[in-house]
């Protein structure tokens, strides 16, 4: 067996594997508002991040997304408490002073009775959204979006470069703007006014434009675009196939995730879309002779990690079909059940914490 297949061989995992794993967890979370399952997903993703994150700057993404999730929950609960009415439940927690609203706002009441059902429902819904956010955060922490872009197939190379450049420019624009703002302060301007906004924008945009021209010159002199021989027709075919395929995939995913959509929208259009996209990438990939430096291998650990995420999603989809009441509680006040298959499925996603290789980029620890 080659060393890349061994989990003990220290290397960084293919970013695609982490993203499949995280998206599998996110898809699983999207199927349920059962707090037991959601908290389990949160715990699993947090554990895996803790076990396999590096000290790279993006590795803090999980904490950032977790904070964002907490804010989402808080907003949902507070708004629901303010806007709740007796129709949502009978267990009154407390009563807020009611604000009279004009006629045109009929049907909405501000304040009044706050029921346990309403608050708990809002909490579960918020928890679902927060869990999905945390799954995305986990993917970002384990494999930066840029590394994922590096793995884009050759046909999408131009798009990937444009995205990477944009990702570099966005933080640069922010730091430029703050530098120019500081400089304007030196000229006696304070606060944000419309006029000063224009004054800040001018030098910042000029700087950005100059930098892009500079970058284009650098890329040109380093051979960018030298190996592509494109006929207009082949480029158009690629674009049409890829975008048609992506559209199909989007429709398919929507069909699968939305319970109310017709069955025809789901799996078939996903498959057709995937086929079209693959075809487009293959056609487009032929036209470039670009090579790739140290491509991340896709070996056994990648299959296990991606597979564990997919298994979790599959377990939740199965439970959703076989026992819908276990995932969508009929009343928020009931004690949430613990569906066996779904729980085992989520716990499967814990596998990467032990079977994925240790990232090698970790800085040597200082011995105190």
């Amino acid at each position: 067996m080659r060393p890349v297949h061994l989990p003990s061989y220290s290397r960084s995992l293919h970013p695609g594997a982490w993203w499949v794993w995280a998206l599998g967890l996110a898809a699983a979370a999207s199927r349920t508002t059962n707090p037991v399952i959601l908290l389990l997903v949160l715990a699993v993703s947090g554990l895996v991040v803790a076990a396999r994150r590096t000290d790279a700057p993006w590795a803090n993404a999980y904490a950032a997304f977790l904070k964002l999730g907490l804010i989402v929950i808080a907003i949902r609960v507070v708004l629901q408490a303010l806007l709740s009415d007796s129709a949502q439940g009978v267990t009154v927690l407390f009563t807020l002073p009611e604000l009279p609203l004009p006629e045109s706002f009929a049907g909405i009441s501000l304040g009044g009775m706050v029921t346990a059902e309403a608050v708990l429902r809002a909490f579960y819904d918020g928890l679902q959204l927060a869990t999905i956010l945390c799954c995305i955060g986990a993917a970002n922490a384990l494999a930066s979006a840029r590394r994922l872009l590096r793995c884009m197939p050759g046909a999408l190379y131009e798009v990937a470069v444009a995205t990477v450049v944009a990702l570099t420019f966005a933080p640069q624009l922010v730091s430029d703007a703050s530098r120019v703002r500081a400089a304007h302060r030196l000229r006696g301007h304070e606060g944000i006014r419309l006029r000063s906004l224009g004054r800040t924008a001018m030098p910042v945009l000029e700087g950005a434009l100059e930098r892009s021209v500079e970058l284009a010159a650098a890329m040109d002199s380093r051979g960018y675009g030298r190996t592509t021989d494109t006929s207009r027709a082949s480029r158009r075919t690629t674009v049409a196939l890829v975008f048609g395929g992506l559209l199909g995939i989007c429709v398919g995913v929507y069909g699968l995730l939305d319970n109310s959509a017709s069955a025809l929208l789901g799996l078939p259009s996903l498959l057709v879309g995937a086929l079209l996209a693959t075809l487009g990438l293959a056609v487009g990939g032929r036209r470039t002779r670009r090579t790739r430096y140290r491509p991340d291998p896709w070996a056994l650990p990648e299959w296990v990690v991606a597979g564990s995420g997919a298994a979790t999603a599959a377990a939740l989809f199965y439970t959703g079909a076989a026992d819908p009441a276990a995932l969508r509680l009929p009343s928020p006040l009931t004690v949430p059940p613990v569906p066996v298959i779904a729980t085992v499925g989520v716990l499967l996603a814990l596998l990467p914490a032990c079977v994925s290789p240790q990232p090698s980029a970790k800085a040597p620890e200082v011995i105190a």
Partner: protein
């Protein structure tokens, strides 16, 4: 290796050609230095080597440029990527990826080189440039010198025969500049690479050059020759060459070592003389700004650790130290852009962080590192009018100041089209419009040519003579020798030296100007000082 045959370049819309009838031959394995003032066409000459001029910039090229047998008329820059490697002025602006290793591999990926070749070349390049310790590091987290070396490495991996660099050390502190130049000379000597570089800081590079191309600009013919030939007559020369001319040494010394070996006679002649002391005003002036035990920290990391400093009227104080030593932080704290965590700063009797900017700008003004940040109008005249409004002074004030510092700049010129030196001067005039008693400058000579630097020096001297305090953060040791009467050295957020210029710089290996190194242990700092002494003697 590189042949220019009657080359002329005219940009579209321009009245006169930038380059006209240039014929040059640069042989294989040479280190060729291109000098000239800003706007003279140096960058155009460099960019013509790999065809960026005219393929990328537009304009019209007459004559022929042939590099390693390839004519740039029929080869686009990308077709020359395996022959010519180009490193721009601002390395981060040319980075395409975000990790050192990927950046090194980028050019090879574009050329479609096989995987095993790429692996080998990346490893070799990491070793040649001493980058193996940072191979996995994000590019944004590197120091200036490391970024410059990555930029060089990223074009070396395609194994070009020619390396073209536009001002590779202008943004670097002296130590990092040494690092980069040492790398370049090693490439020339060990790998036989042909290197063409443009540089304003001649004192750093002249000694390494085999050949110099002087681009005078304004339609004057380009002069090319060996370093000694061109330096004998060049209007642009480093202090060591000027000293050689003054003392009548032949052949001219190009390095401190050459000069020192010939300087024994000159040193003896200078023994009875003492350099004129500029420090006379230093301790007598009224204090303009005072710092007491100032601590500033960013995200828990201390940038300044207990700084005590007094700045007085009529003195020019230079603030030195490597990048990241806290120089910019100190300047920002003086104008209230950052608030100290502890300690006390007073400027003109006020605490900067608690004072409104409109009041503060009457006691202290800062010219930032990018003077363009201060400018936003579309013409010089409009810029000056706005400055008068901002400062609440009668109109015409700022324009008059600018006229005094940089004569005869047309009113309708766009600030972006000004030369580097004019833009700096305009920013200085704007700051001066509010009549502050203390002027701060951050890295003012970055990108300035010798002429612009000389004008800046005389402007700063006359401001100090009028009783203003001048405080400048800089890496430029020659500027410090010329203009300052006191030097403060920051190291790791603490003041490690503070005293008269000669006391601080003469013995320092990093901060001593060339003249001081040649004439040590005597305390001469500039060629002008030596010239005055010799005149009084004869």
């Amino acid at each position: 290796m590189i042949d220019f045959d009657r080359v002329g370049v005219t940009y579209s819309g321009a009245l006169a050609p930038v380059l006209d009838d240039v014929t040059l031959h640069i042989a294989e394995g040479e280190l060729c230095l291109v000098i000239g003032r800003t706007g003279s066409g140096k960058s155009t000459l460099l960019r013509a080597i790999n065809g960026l001029v005219p393929h990328f910039t537009g304009g019209r090229l007459t004559g022929r440029v042939v590099v390693d047998g390839r004519d740039t008329r029929t080869h686009r820059p990308r077709d020359l990527a395996d022959v010519v490697g180009v490193v721009g002025q601002d390395p981060p602006a040319g980075f395409v990826t975000d990790v050192v290793e990927d950046e090194l591999a980028y050019g090879m990926e574009s050329l479609g080189l096989p995987h095993d070749v790429m692996r080998k070349r990346v490893e070799e390049t990491l070793d040649v440039l001493g980058l193996s310790a940072v191979r996995q590091r994000p590019l944004a987290a590197l120091s200036g010198g490391e970024q410059q070396r990555v930029a060089i490495g990223s074009v070396l991996t395609t194994h070009p025969r020619v390396l073209v660099l536009d001002e590779p050390t202008s943004a670097l502190d002296p130590q990092a500049a040494e690092e980069v130049l040492a790398t370049l000379t090693r490439l020339v000597h060990d790998l036989g690479l042909t290197v063409v570089l443009a540089e304003h800081r001649l004192e750093r590079v002249v000694q390494y050059a085999d050949r110099i191309v002087l681009v005078p600009g304004d339609g004057e013919p380009v002069v090319a020759g060996t370093t000694e030939e061109v330096m004998a007559t060049s209007p642009l020369a480093p202090p060591v060459v000027e000293l050689g001319r003054l003392a009548g040494w032949s052949p001219l010394p190009l390095s401190v070592r050459d000069a020192r070996r010939r300087a024994s006679v000159l040193r003896e002649r200078l023994v009875p003389h003492r350099p004129t002391q500029k420090a006379a005003a230093a301790t007598s002036g009224t204090p303009l700004a005072q710092l007491r035990a100032v601590v500033v920290s960013y995200r828990g990391i201390a940038a300044l650790r207990g700084v005590d400093l007094t700045l007085r009227a009529g003195e020019v104080v230079a603030l030195m130290g490597r990048n990241g030593a806290g120089k910019s932080t100190l300047l920002s704290a003086l104008v209230g852009l950052v608030t100290p965590a502890s300690g006390r700063i007073t400027v003109g009797g006020q605490v900067p962080a608690d004072t409104g900017v409109r009041t503060l700008m009457r006691s202290v003004g800062l010219v930032p590192q990018e003077p363009g940040d201060l400018l936003y109008a579309d013409s010089v005249a409009a810029e000056c009018r706005l400055a008068d409004e901002d400062a609440g002074v009668p109109s015409g004030n700022c324009r008059a100041l600018f006229e005094r510092l940089a004569p005869a700049v047309p009113d309708d010129r766009h600030p972006r089209d000004l030369s580097e030196g004019q833009r700096l001067t305009l920013a200085l005039a704007i700051v001066l419009t509010a009549r502050p008693s203390l002027i701060l400058l951050d890295e003012p000579t970055r990108g300035l040519d010798y002429g612009a630097k000389r004008r800046l020096i005389s402007a700063l001297r006359s401001l100090a003579a009028e009783g203003l305090g001048v405080f400048l953060a800089t890496h430029d040791v020659e500027l410090v020798a010329e203009v300052s009467n006191r030097v403060v050295v920051l190291g790791d957020g603490e003041i490690v030296a503070d005293g008269a210029t000669a006391d601080v710089v003469v013995a320092s290996p990093a901060f001593a100007p060339q003249v001081a190194k040649v004439l040590a242990p005597q305390r001469w700092l500039t060629v002008a000082d030596v010239a005055t002494a010799l005149e009084t003697a004869s």
